[in-house]
């Protein structure tokens, strides 16, 4: 064991070595999930590549190039870039309420003309990098100290509050879950988590007061969807009917009545899992979940093999993001949690979420490629 972790200088990696070190089965798994997504989009369009499947495939190919670019980049570069990136993302998020574009009662986009983008997507990546960077810098013996909790709490709290102000409950929850998860993995004491959970329980009634009406409505209809089947409960009810009517083997590819007859809302984005479960049945749905679970196991395995805490936390953090997305999306369409508008990674139609996720997976692979790299203390001391 001692030999294994002996601190020898990290080997210089050239591209050929990196090609050898990268986790090819994991990439094959990502491609498989994306192909399932393309097939689902093909079916949603009534058996046509237009308008969704073809564009999604093009975006995925573009994303794959990006994934390789991130995976083969130098991990030291990202170590240096982590804090500046976070700062840029934070500034952009602050700019959103000031100069952002409003759509559907929420201001989430920064845009100029044709081009628009969501700073909160960038923040998802930046938050993971920045927290990992922080714990790489923090001497491990100080991790128990309460004052060591202040910077990460601020780093998580600011974007969470900004997301709540947009208002975007789903993203805010995502920041909190990923941030909390990373602090847990970094080794923060259980005691603090127990205290945090207690505080949330105390704060919950006050938070309820602060919620927007539509957010309260969502939670209420979640608790009892039949309350108003043609109003806000409609989505959940129709989604449950679609999934349930799929049965064990499903209605067959392109034969889903709920989806093809336009009963499903957002069937090509947030509710694509519903359509998939309706057409492919229990077997197909569990198969897709198994693919995701396999990907998560891969990520955990890759995180465990890394030597630096930065690489470990980056890999694990991206894994947490993937997990949170998949879980919230599937739980949402099956009626386990309220509808919060979270896409199914790599499958739902949409450019921004697809790119965010695939860049995140690129970071996982980057950590894996650089699994033997350790950082000298002087590399972590500066802010960039």
């Amino acid at each position: 064991m001692k030999m294994l972790f002996a601190e020898v200088p990290a080997p210089k990696l050239d591209l050929r070595k990196k090609l050898w070190l990268i986790n090819w089965p994991f990439i094959a798994l990502i491609v498989a999930i994306a192909l399932v997504g393309a097939a689902a989009l093909y079916s949603v369009a009534g058996g046509s590549l237009d308008p969704w499947a073809s564009r999604q495939i093009v975006r995925f190919c573009f994303g794959l190039a990006l994934l390789f670019a991130v995976a083969f980049s130098d991990i030291r570069w990202w170590l240096r870039a982590a804090f500046p990136l976070y700062l840029v993302a934070l500034v952009l998020m602050i700019l959103v309420p000031l100069i952002g574009v409003e759509s559907g009662g929420a201001t989430r986009w920064l845009g100029y003309g044709e081009f628009s983008f969501q700073p909160s997507e960038m923040m998802k990546m930046a938050l993971v990098l920045a927290l990992a960077r922080y714990y790489q810098w923090l001497p491990p013996e100080k991790i128990w100290r309460p004052d060591a909790l202040v910077p990460p709490a601020l780093m998580i709290g600011l974007p969470t509050l900004l997301a709540l102000a947009q208002p975007d409950l789903g993203t805010a929850m995502l920041f909190a879950v990923i941030g909390g998860g990373l602090m847990f993995l970094a080794g923060v004491s259980y005691f603090y988590f127990a205290a945090g959970i207690a505080a949330v329980i105390v704060a919950l009634p006050h938070a309820w007061e602060a919620l927007h009406d539509y957010q309260r409505e969502r939670i209420l209809t979640f608790i009892d969807p039949e309350r108003d089947p043609l109003g806000s409960g409609y989505h959940i009810l129709q989604s449950k009917i679609a999934i349930g009517s799929g049965g064990l083997t499903g209605k067959g590819f392109m034969q889903g009545t709920q989806a093809q007859l336009n009963f499903l809302p957002e069937k090509h984005t947030d509710f694509i899992f519903t359509m998939f479960a309706e057409e492919m049945g229990f077997i197909g749905a569990v198969g897709l979940l198994a693919l995701y679970l396999l990907a998560l196991l891969f990520i955990t395995y890759m995180a465990l093999r890394c030597r630096s805490i930065f690489a470990r936390l980056v890999a694990a953090g991206m894994g947490l993001t993937l997990f949170t997305y998949v879980f919230i999306n599937v739980a949402m369409v099956t009626g386990l949690v309220p509808v919060v508008g979270v896409p199914l990674p790599l499958v739902s139609y949409g450019g921004t979420s697809m790119l965010t996720m695939i860049v995140g997976l690129g970071f996982v692979l980057n950590a894996h490629v650089n699994r033997r790299v350790v950082f000298r203390p002087e590399e972590t001391r500066t802010l960039w």
Partner: protein, 631 residues
């Protein structure tokens, strides 16, 4: 600060915090991984609950609420001629469809339907195949053109036959079908590539333009589809209509064609086996008549085509589907001498007063080029055009050179397409040295310049190009042909051509002589309207070099007959070109056709009368939207 763990000295060891942190990470990562797997298990349990335990309940609910959204095909815009006569319109079409998803069994449904409407084995096959290929919620067409009796019977029986639908859609009907056939074209089922572009094409029996104006202006004519939302029960019976968005009718088109002149033109050329004639308004470029024989009846193709008949039409030896006026490329023969004369004059290599002697043969090196007649001495430009003396133009072409000759031809609008709304326009060919090197990898020979001077050799032109050329000579402006009237058309004033008006006048005088002076080649085809004269030029072009002429027999060995003309002589308003394939001499076969069509045009004077304006206000936004979305 993290310290390196002491490796080789004794004493009390400082705890290795970094290692502890790594172990702690490993423990917690496994814990988180287990938690994730557990939560996925929760999802699996939920799916199990929904899809296995409660599945039958949800299936019932799903069957209860089925809703179909059907696209409603837009009505296709009508096509009018310049005076508002309807050329293409929509008529009611009673149809029978099935929705495979709602049939208990598709073959069973077809069996019950066949008791009322005869369903052939081929149709049956097609329906079953279509049902397999596409989603079961797209209706499949079974039969169309039903009688009222069948339609009523089917509607009465509808509750007993699940998955059956009837509807009333339109089909395309063409008036003045044969004369207008090549110009208007016809509609048909969309090809696969097009179906992928627009979902409306998937509607059963939806027709899209295949050729002619129907194809070129398909987007404008098509309109945009509407939708109807139905709630249906488990058997596919409509419970109620939930709402609809009406379709927008396509834009109406007004052609520049006068259907009466068109009919006259086709009737006039019918006596020939293959011929075409184009009549243009030289001021606006509007095509007044464009007839090509053999013609066809688009009504036989656009609706319920008989496969046998179609095959016969497509494979016929004289290709009736081809519009000869734009697709026929012929050596222009002596009609090209108009171009050669203008080229020689504008290059300054000939003088209109200079006379030459025509011994009936022209020598260039060791080669001999013959004239159709020994014209003797005293041939100047005017006489050469009038009598169509080959020798004069051999010499002119030699002096001018192929580059300037080709440039002049292009200035007169030859060797290109005009994209005026017809499908499959051919560009013809105006050869020059660069072209020959690129296409044949050979140098240009002087002898080729000589024969190009009389429109033989490589030179090719379509009747439409010849009509444009003569319009440009007549007006001195860069006339471009036009087939569709547009409401906000500016009064077309084409730019002046780059020729000295005096030279154009010399050429026009020569063309005047062709028809109206003694010894003119088309003297017999002078107009019989008092006080109105026509200017023209005959052409008789060889199909093959005389060396190989013996290999062809009968009709195919005969020369093409051509004639180009404009009238009235001193205030040109109409221009015409006619080509009779293997018709013999231009003065015998082609000139009389042009004379008769021109006479009709002058007496009717379509260009002088106000044109019809279609009422498109209501339809225009829809049509625009379609164009916009297609981008």
């Amino acid at each position: 600060m993290r310290k390196k763990p002491p490796l080789d000295y004794g004493g009390k060891k400082k705890p290795d915090y970094a290692r502890r942190q790594r172990y702690r990470f490993s423990r917690r990562a496994l814990l988180v991984g287990a938690g994730q797997a557990g939560l996925f298990g929760l999802l699996g349990w939920r799916l199990h609950q929904l899809q296995i335990l409660d599945s039958s309940e949800y299936r019932l609910l799903s069957d209860e609420n089925r809703m179909t959204v059907q696209l409603v095909a837009p009505a296709r815009g009508s096509i009018y001629d310049r005076f508002g006569a309807v050329i293409a319109e929509n008529k009611e079409n009673l149809r029978l469809l099935v929705l495979p998803a709602f049939c208990k069994s598709l073959p069973g449904t077809l069996n019950s339907l066949s008791k009322i409407v005869p369903i052939s084995a081929a149709t049956r096959d097609r329906v079953l195949r279509a049902a397999r290929r596409q989603s079961g919620y797209y209706p499949v067409l079974v039969a169309e053109g039903l009688s009222w009796r069948q339609f009523a019977l089917l509607n009465i029986l509808a509750p007993q036959i699940p998955g059956m639908r009837t509807d009333r859609s339109g089909y395309r009907h063409y008036n003045h079908a044969r004369p207008m056939s090549h110009v208007v074209g016809y509609v048909g089922m969309a090809g696969k590539a097009e179906v992928d572009l627009a979902p409306v094409m998937r509607l059963p029996g939806f027709r899209t333009g295949i050729t002619g104006v129907e194809k070129s202006f398909d987007k404008e004519l098509r309109g945009s589809p509407g939708t109807i939302k139905y709630e249906v029960d488990v058997h596919g019976r409509v419970v109620r209509e939930l709402g609809s968005k009406p379709s927008t009718r396509g834009r109406d088109l007004v052609l520049t064609i006068d259907h009466h002149l068109q009919t006259v033109a086709l009737d006039r050329i019918k006596e020939h086996r293959v011929a075409s004639v184009v009549l243009m308004d030289v001021a606006t470029g509007g095509i007044l008549a464009m007839a090509s024989t053999p013609a066809f009846d688009p009504n036989l193709i656009a609706f319920n085509p008989d496969p046998e008949q179609w095959k016969e039409l497509a494979k016929a030896r004289d290709h009736p589907l081809h519009n000869r006026a734009i697709r026929g490329q012929y050596p222009p023969g002596s009609t090209f001498k108009v171009v050669t004369a203008l080229a020689g004059l504008s290059a300054g290599v000939i003088d209109s007063e200079e006379t030459m002697r025509c011994p009936g043969v022209y020598a260039l090196g060791r080669a001999r080029f013959r004239c159709w007649k020994a014209h003797g001495p005293g041939i100047n430009t005017h006489e050469a055009i009038k009598q169509s003396c080959d020798v004069y133009f051999y010499e002119t072409a030699k002096r001018t050179g192929i580059e300037h000759l080709a440039a002049t031809a292009r200035e007169l609008g030859m060797g290109r397409t005009y994209d005026c709304g017809l499908q499959g326009e051919k560009p013809g060919l105006i050869p020059d040295t660069a072209w020959k090197r690129a296409a044949l990898f050979q140098p240009w020979y002087p002898g080729e310049t000589v024969i190009a001077g009389i429109g033989q050799g490589f030179v090719l032109a379509t009747p439409l190009q010849l009509a444009v050329m003569v319009s440009r000579v007549a007006t001195g402006r860069a006339v471009l042909p036009k087939l569709v009237m547009s409401a906000n058309d500016p009064i077309d004033s084409f730019p002046q051509l780059n020729f000295d008006p005096a030279y154009l006048e010399i050429v026009r005088n020569g063309m005047f002589g062709v028809v109206n002076e003694p010894h003119g080649t088309a003297g017999r085809s002078a107009l019989k309207i008092p006080g109105v004269q026509m200017c023209g030029k005959t052409g008789t072009s060889q199909v093959v070099s005389s060396r190989y002429a013996h290999k062809l027999k009968g009709w195919e060995a005969k020369t093409h007959a051509l004639f180009i003309a404009f009238a009235p002589a001193h205030a040109p308003r109409y221009a015409a070109a006619c080509v009779v394939e293997h018709g013999g001499g231009g003065s015998h076969a082609a000139a009389p056709v042009v004379r008769d069509v021109m006479t009709e045009a002058l007496l009717r004077d379509p260009a002088g009368r106000p044109a019809f304006v279609a009422n498109n206000e209501g339809a225009a936004p829809g049509a625009l939207a379609v164009i916009g979305s297609a981008r």
